[in-house]
Subunit: 560 residues, 2 copies
């Protein structure tokens, strides 16, 4: 019998990638990446060249389509696999990454009448300019005593769907009115693939305040935000939501031809990169936290009971695996902070040394930082350069570095930044545990674990928990392929449940990171200091970060 | 009549320099610099190679003698001036920079029996390892209700003479016992030049707890610090103190020959670099703050009444000019912070751009930072990378950077560091004014004003005061030459008072920095935020900086 295959497409922040996976074994036969031509649009609009305000982050939806048409044929070609043996496709996306769509299902920014309108483009997950709208969303929810708030840790993030829609309505009402739909980019890609609008439960649940039992917030709540928003659900969203693991549809002949696939290839409903990684890391039960570690970290854990955990991103029943409550938390910048540091703060002598030793700068800094003992630098940082997602849920916070002396070295700052992100994760774990969601083990996947052994070891040392690593270097894409195999079903040679798919297709790397013996109390003490600064700057005692951003924004207005 | 000349020798942190000045006009005819062969010794001892603990900073006294023998003949040669026309020499020094001296007046570290003993070397002003001893000095003074404390802002610094002596007694009693004298390096150089121990009132007053009316603290006080310290004044210091402007003596033939000068050339008592700069900046009355701006800043102001100002470094009657109370305050790191940043935190692309534009990195960063509006970066820093001298008097504080984002640029950090040092100066000025010492105008000298227009403008904008700049690029050395002319006296062709010398020899640069119109409130608001962090981290509410240094020191012990 011929081996069967599934495709997983992972839409990231800077690029999209496809893996071709053998359904019976999980073996990844081929991988292809498309770097988005327009990348993250945070300085100026590609069409008009107009400058964007601070905190904006857009994308070009055409980059998503180019990802499909470029990478899918490439993987088949690389692997020498026939389209007839490809059973299904799954996709995963960053979220909430959303866009306005016209009545024909086209992105509004592709319409020449809206091409120069920033609000017509995709708002990327890290678009942080809807904070006033998030404040309004939270204020109205608190005033009306909306029960949904506690499902989201007490706070709706400015990154999510409703604040982003409200920002469009506030700042560009003509775009709001012209939009037939507001969609997650994930669901929009499924619409492009299948011709059908099949919204997934994961983004609806975690990002759009939807729940299986109660649906979206009420029209009265939406009207409290803005009179015109009263009918937003009926007019521009959809209550027709499909659970993870369901089939969205199949490729029609035209799309199949464009992608070099068989017409009728099964397509799974879309997923979120973090959530799809849980079964791909072999995790199908509670107590095991999966961390998708890249530019940011998403923390996912399954629980057997619904707990209201303050500052988590959300809890969604069946939101990750059926039969469990899926919990999500996150850190808004991790790899992004290291990348910023390496690009911005490393002196020429280190570039030269890296060149001579044939290392990249990260590797050089890691080598130097690995020689330091915990606490040796005297530095402590707060990892808030892109705000704080959990447990403070506040994008207006900013990064701090404390303990600088005239002897401070670049590798000491680099290590302090790594440690700060580990303290951020430790803070999230302790918050879950304190509110009744057990966490005993860590599982890491994403871009960081593979190349950053020091980072992994520091996370194990800070948390004191064993840290396992995904066997795939493309975990979300593997997870998507697993869901593609489930969309095809066992009769076609796939699987009927994601648990079965995980048993056959998911694996772990041979390495396990454990706390370095003997146990040191240094990280406990540093984490205590971190928590004190965390609460001082993050819980309103000293709002200097907001004051500084306020002054900054005034100067932009004055000079703009 | 032939023109007459005076020599001024300025002993700095990294080098010593001599200027040859025409007595009638203040014209500087020649200048020569000697970069100390052993520089600042803060990593390992040049003799044994032994590693030094954190916070140590030593110097080699042989570097001071090499400064004299190298630079003095060079200036005469450059200017083509005859030794017969050189009336006098003055010197100034960093302080408290002190050393143990044997019975023959030689530095103890020059004795082979002590060459490998770190405590036998010169302790530079920025040696900060005597903090436990400073704590003991302050505790004993408070417990005994010693009146002297309020003359020093309520706190004796670890940088000063008595804590440094006590550290030697505590850690190396054999060095303490072997020392016939503990001397300021300034006075020790005068001893080498003239053969006579003529200690100056400025270092005795500001650094060794001596006052004209009450002398040193009592034997009972010293005994409370350590039983063996009871007789330290009689045994190892000297109550025979000479006022600024007095003559220390004259060059004996042997020393005159070594320096290429006339035997009998007048030598003034030594001075401190900051204090000697006041008349050299034309300042001979109250309300005008002189800032010696280099690696650190010393702030000097004359007052007509004695005020007890908390957190100042000291007030000494006649300590700067006769007839006034001389006030001193300071910031422990300013230029040092910028130098650290440029060396440690500027990426390769900027080095390349600087090379292409033929700028040094400071100039490149200044050019980029000058394009930013106040507050535009959203950053705020605390300028405590070398502790805080005024008004907190605490070397265990450290630097902070707050407001970091993923968009933060190097020039934004550079500007925030400049602004932080300006806020540090503003804090010192407001503290003086609040305690009855008027400050209306600023005068700058030292290495920074000449090359850093942005820095000067920011100080004017932050303080709102006009900022004038010394006409000399070697202000302390010019001041020393002025005192050399006073040591010679009018009958020899010099002057009888420093006020007369200032009238003829001191001058200002043509530029005056004034606050940029229209006045912005941004710096007021940023300074308010600075003060809140200043008090939070600096006055005991959150001692995280000390905790971090404590953990750091434990790791050094564990690995040492």
């Amino acid at each position: 019998m011929t081996a069967k295959y599934a495709l997983g497409v992972d839409f990231g922040t800077e690029s999209g990638r496809t893996v071709l996976v053998e359904v019976g074994t999980g073996r990844e036969l081929a991988m292809a990446v498309y770097a988005y031509a327009n990348g993250v649009i945070d300085e100026q609009l590609p069409t008009s060249g107009a400058r964007l305000p601070p905190d904006w982050a857009l994308q070009d939806p055409a980059d998503y389509l180019r990802t499909l048409s470029t990478t899918i044929p490439l993987t088949l070609q690389q692997a020498g696999v026939s389209a007839d043996d490809v059973l299904g496709i799954g996709i995963d996306f960053t979220a909430c990454t959303m866009l306005p769509v016209d009545g024909a299902g086209q992105a509004l920014c592709a319409d020449p009448r809206f091409a120069n309108e920033p609000h017509a483009w995709v708002k990327l997950w890290k678009h942080h300019a809807a904070q006033p709208e998030a404040d309004a969303v939270n204020r109205a929810a608190r005033e009306r005593g909306e029960a949904f708030l506690s499902r989201y840790g007490g706070k709706i993030s400015s990154e999510w769907m409703i604040p982003k829609i409200l920002q469009i309505l506030n700042e560009a009402p003509h775009v709001y009115h012209a939009a037939a739909r507001f969609m997650e980019a994930a669901d929009w890609v499924i619409l492009q693939l299948t011709g059908a609008e099949r919204r997934n439960a994961c983004t609806a649940g975690y990002k759009a305040i939807w729940a299986k039992d109660t649906g979206y917030p009420t029209p009265e709540y939406f009207a409290a935000l803005h009179p015109e928003l009263r009918t937003v659900v009926a007019d521009k969203l959809s209550g027709d939501i499909y659970a993870q693991g369901e089939r969205a549809g199949a490729l029609p002949p035209s799309m199949a031809a464009e992608l070099g696939l068989r017409p009728g290839t099964a397509v799974a409903v879309a997923n979120v990169d973090a959530h799809v990684s849980v079964p791909a890391c072999t995790v199908v039960g509670p107590g095991k936290m999966v961390m998708v570690m890249g530019t940011s970290i998403c923390h996912m854990v399954l629980g057997t009971e619904q707990r209201m955990v303050p500052g988590m991103c959300g809890v969604v029943e069946d939101g990750i695996l059926p039969g469990y409550f899926g919990y999500e938390a996150g850190q808004s910048a991790v790899g992004d902070i290291f990348a910023w540091f390496v690009e911005t703060c490393v002196p020429a002598a280190y570039w030269e040394e890296a060149r001579q030793r044939n290392l990249d700068l990260h590797a050089l800094l890691e080598a130097k930082a690995a020689l330091l003992a915990p606490g040796q630098s005297g530095l402590l940082a707060l990892d808030w350069s892109n705000g704080n997602r959990s447990v403070l849920v506040d994008v207006d916070l900013s990064g701090v570095l404390i303990g600088l002396t005239l002897a401070t070295r670049p590798e000491e700052i680099y290590r302090a930044l790594i440690e700060a992100t580990a303290f951020g994760t430790q803070t999230i774990i302790r918050n879950f545990v304190a509110h009744g969601v057990p966490v005993d083990e860590l599982y890491a996947c994403g871009g960081l674990p593979e190349h950053n052994r020091l980072l992994m070891q520091i996370y194990a040392d800070v948390t004191g928990m064993p840290l396992k690593v995904s066997g795939s270097s493309q975990t979300p894409a593997l997870g998507s392929a697993m869901f593609g195999a489930v969309a095809a079903g066992s009769q076609a040679g796939g699987y009927d449940t994601i648990v079965e798919a995980a048993a056959h297709m998911a694996s772990l790397a041979p390495v396990v990171y454990a706390r370095t013996p003997p146990p040191t109390l240094v990280y406990e003490r540093l984490h205590a200091e971190y928590m004190r600064l965390h609460d001082y700057f993050g819980r309103g005692e000293n709002n200097v970060m907001k004051t500084l951003k306020g002054i900054r924004d005034e100067t932009h207005v004055a000079s703009g």
